[in-house]
């Protein structure tokens, strides 16, 4: 007689506390580093798998901040982090940047604070870009 057994599938779930980050206009002399209005961004990680499973959260920008033909380099945006396993960094369009790393089953919450370096060299405009956050467990 065959005794059926359940094998739980590995699962990874990523939740962000906001869908958008906004940096308001500011005088570069008064505000050399602009805080995102939505700071801090809540990040929730849930990974279910083996105790030796490695999980990594990365972020990669789709390009520079863009307003028509004007650009602000995406590396002008940095973040700080709070929460076990979460790390600070600088956005990049070239390579995924590490946001956090954990071992085994994970059920973690962290906060990210985003900052835009201000400058008189930026052309006036409304800039935007998309960031892809990817959680992989393997």
């Amino acid at each position: 007689m065959l005794a059926p057994s359940m094998v739980e599938a590995d699962e990874a779930r990523l939740t962000l506390g906001a869908a958008m980050l906004s940096f308001p206009s500011a005088d570069p002399d008064a505000v050399p580093s602009i805080a995102a209005l939505e700071n801090p961004l809540l990040v929730e990680i849930m990974v279910r798998g083996g105790h030796s499973m490695l999980s990594q959260l990365t972020v990669q920008a789709g390009g520079d901040l863009q307003s028509g033909s004007d650009k602000i380099t995406i590396t002008s945006i940095t973040w700080t982090a709070q929460g076990e396993g979460f790390v600070a960094g600088t956005l990049s369009k070239e390579q995924p940047q590490l946001v956090g790393q954990w071992l085994g089953n994970v059920n973690r919450t962290g906060n990210l604070w985003f900052w835009l370096e201000n400058s008189w060299s930026y052309p006036a405009g409304d800039y935007s870009q998309s960031l892809a956050y990817t959680l992989i467990a393997y």
Binding site: D10, M20, D27, I34, P123
Partner: protein, 167 residues
């Protein structure tokens, strides 16, 4: 006997498939949109609020240099990348001391720094600088008064207004 062997083989294959699935990576992805606003703004800073021309012998000093020369000038602008930024200066009148006057056109200036322009004071706006797009520009003006034995003695003054425009 043969039938039991075939069934056992099928069960073994199923178990192997399930074990292989347990080792696959699990993943999830979320998108975050980033927006940044850079509004038009303009800021002009002059190094001093007053320039003074001391008394001098017109034969020895036909051109009197202001004691504060050079005067630093800083222009800071957020504007369109193709927008023309201009700095102008306009005097509110001639140098005046009671009923006496010295034509303001006797005051000239030289300029240093990219985009900054030399000129002659006047009661109409005079170009003092021109640039394109956003940025910080640092320069300096040095002021000179043409000296003349024809000036009546007195303490003269006048206000000049610098205007920075970024469309």
């Amino acid at each position: 006997m043969k039938r039991r062997t075939v069934v056992a083989g099928m069960v073994t294959v199923a178990c192997l498939l399930l074990l292989a699935a347990a080792g696959w990576a699990a993943s999830d992805q979320q998108t975050l949109t980033v927006r940044a606003t850079v509004a038009d703004k303009a800021k002009l800073t002059l190094g001093v609020a007053t320039v003074n021309f001391p008394d001098a012998d017109p034969d020895a000093a036909p051109l009197i240099s202001a004691t504060e020369n050079p005067v630093s000038v800083t222009v800071k602008v957020h504007t369109g990348s193709a927008a023309v930024v201009t700095l102008t200066v306009q005097a509110n009148g001639d140098l005046s001391s009671g009923g006496d006057s010295i034509a303001i056109t006797n005051v000239t200036w030289t300029a240093s720094g990219s985009g900054f322009l030399a000129g002659t004071m006047d009661t109409s706006p005079q170009a003092a600088g021109s640039w394109t797009g956003s940025g910080r520009r640092d320069g300096a003006f040095s002021y000179f008064l043409a000296n003349d034995w024809g000036y009546a003695t007195g303490d003269y003054s006048q206000t000049v207004v610098y205007t920075l425009t970024a469309p």
